[in-house]
Amino acid sequence: MEIVVCVKPIPEAETRLRVGADGTTFDAEGVKFVLAGYDESAVEQALLLKEAIPGSRVHVISAGPSPRTDEVLRASVALGCDLATCVDLSSANSAADPIAIARALASALATVPHDLVLCGKQAGDDEAGLVAPALGELLGVPDFGYVVDLRWDAARKLLKFQRWGESGLELWEAPTPCVIGLQQAWNDPRTAKLPAILKSRKAPIARAAPPAGPTSPSSRPERFELPPPRLGARLIEYKTPQEAAEKLVKLLREEAKVFP
């Protein structure tokens, strides 16, 4: 099976983000980019399928500004992906637009064999959750989100998986090709081994041109700002619940003026 995993470089969780000079991006200077948790789950799922289905191959693709894309592509190769492709969107002002990302991925997929396309169900930074469904639409194949535990029924040539839906766990079957957005942290993603990390630094990364056509993004953020600093919490001292409630109501009335 030809499995493609789409991954996005996102700032490491401990990063202290600064708003960029233009007010609509964040300042990437000195920021370390890593594989998002959702994408780690997608890569792990791809590798589990590869191990279960003889003759399978995993191709990892990232669309965005290089070199941050290369970091997550190499991390994926270190985990066991076979091929890596970067769609370099450095020049295009569309790196923050999920639909433009989906278009870039779809254009790369036109020349990449794929029976199954896996994504994290959303990115770990903007959490838009749009790329997987948009990719399904652009490729003209079904797409499913919030998926866990994807398996291949070799006899019936069908994918079987679970979905964390609104009403509980749903059991699904789907034909290939299709696009699947994986839930985070259900499959205990593996850690890359040291020799694989060293080898991945020398792995070739194919470069795909961004798609031709309009480069203006379909949407753009108006303004970023940091949340205001939090005012310290105030603790109410009390001996009985009644006293606590009385003091709280008094504060809500007289200081916060929530009630008249």
Partner: protein, 382 residues
């Protein structure tokens, strides 16, 4: 000029070791310390990830890292648990004599199968009657045809109860002092080789340490490393290579102590404000941070010197000695920052002091390091 800006490859290695240390080692550090438990499941994982035979070239199944990259990894591991790190890197020490003095045939015959699965090796130099005075060995290697017969006892041997391979230093004639010493590779299966019981230690309690007895152990001459009488030089050249990572190990302990102290100082309040706002604590933290940075840079400089093809005896002795003294000092100040809580086993910092102490003693006590430093130093003035 040394350039200590890490490459993205080095960052990947460090990040991987950091993740392993913080998710696999640190959560079990307190429990292993309390019980004196040897967490073999963690060592197996370390092996699986390629964190164990760091100095062995990949041709023989190791990770083949430069000394600098080894130091990056060792510091991260020690941040998670100093004792576990001692056991994880003991293979590097025990296998270094084979890398330095083994013939290609010996290396292929011994290292390749050894590195192909999870196995531990033990470096057997120290004896009950002398550690620093390594020229004064009592363990005998008597030649008998195409064999040697080893008789004697080694002590304080890391991983000895769990090892499958021992690199052993023994003398053909104690009167020859260091010129009489030869080095041997001895498998655990050799008849007459008996590891003792686990020692109860002050720190590094997740590591295992014991005596090893040799009662007429027959070793084929083909398992001697280097020429007869080369043993002392092999041991010293081995320690020249492995001293620097001990500086990294001490730096990891020191960094952990600083992090604990700094975080605690922001939370703990006295006299109506966090203790981080008291100058007495600020001065402590500032001094601790200087010690940690200096320890790391001396360690990196030593690794860079050796990776550049120099012997680095002076640099590695300075790195090991300074970093281990720094680790003890920083752990001590971390406890002081925590006050009474720091003295309690429920809090993580008293373990760091106990773990730091060993780094001043093993792989060449700091007194010996200072002797070496002075000797190397005075050469330039003579």
């Amino acid at each position: 000029m040394p350039d200590f800006a890490l490459t993205s490859e080095q960052e990947s290695l460090r990040d991987m070791a950091r993740k392993f240390a913080r998710t696999e080692m640190a959560p079990h550090a307190a429990e292993c310390d309390r019980a004196g438990r040897f967490p073999e499941e963690i060592y197996r994982k370390a092996y699986d990830l390629g964190l164990m035979n760091l100095n062995v070239p990949s041709d023989y199944g190791g990770s083949g890292l430069s000394l600098f990259d080894q130091c990056l990894i060792v510091e991260e591991l020690a941040y998670g648990c100093g004792g576990m790190t001692t056991s994880i890197i003991a293979n590097c020490l025990a296998l270094e004599p084979i890398l330095l003095a083994g013939t290609p045939e010996q290396r292929t015959r011994v290292l390749s199968p050894f590195c192909a699965s999870y196995q531990l090796a033990a470096f057997c130099l120290t004896e009950p009657s002398g550690g620093s005075d390594a020229g004064n060995l009592r363990t005998r290697a008597r030649r008998d045809g195409d064999h040697y017969v080893l008789t004697g006892e080694k002590c304080f041997i890391t991983n000895a109860p769990h090892a499958s391979l021992y690199t052993v230093f023994a003398t053909g004639d104690p009167n020859l002092r260091h010129k009489g010493i030869s080095a041997f590779m001895v498998p655990r299966s050799a008849e007459g080789l008996t590891p003792g019981k686990d020692e109860e230690k002050m720190g590094h309690r997740a590591s295992s340490t014991s005596t090893v007895r040799f009662d007429g152990v027959r070793v084929p001459a083909s398992d001697r490393l280097g020429a007869e009488g080369d043993g002392f030089s092999i041991a010293m050249r081995t320690l020249d290579q492995t001293r620097t990572p001990i500086g990294a190990l001490a730096t990891g302990i020191a960094q952990a102590a600083l992090d604990h102290a700094a975080r605690y100082s922001l939370k703990r309040e006295t006299f109506g404000k966090p203790i981080s706002e008291h100058q007495a604590i600020q001065i402590k933290l500032a001094n601790m941070a200087q010690s940690v940075r200096a320890a790391r840079l001396l360690t990196w400089f030593s690794a860079w010197t050796i990776d550049s093809g120099h012997k680095g005896t002076l640099e590695s002795s300075i790195a090991k000695c300074f970093a281990s003294d720094a680790a003890l000092h920083v752990a001590d100040e971390a406890i002081q920052t925590f006050g009474g809580y720091g003295y309690m086993k429920e809090y993580p910092v008293e373990k760091l002091l106990r773990d730091a102490k060993l780094t001043q003693i093993y792989e060449g006590a700091n007194e010996i390091q200072r002797t070496v430093i002075a000797r190397e130093l005075l050469r330039d003035y003579a």
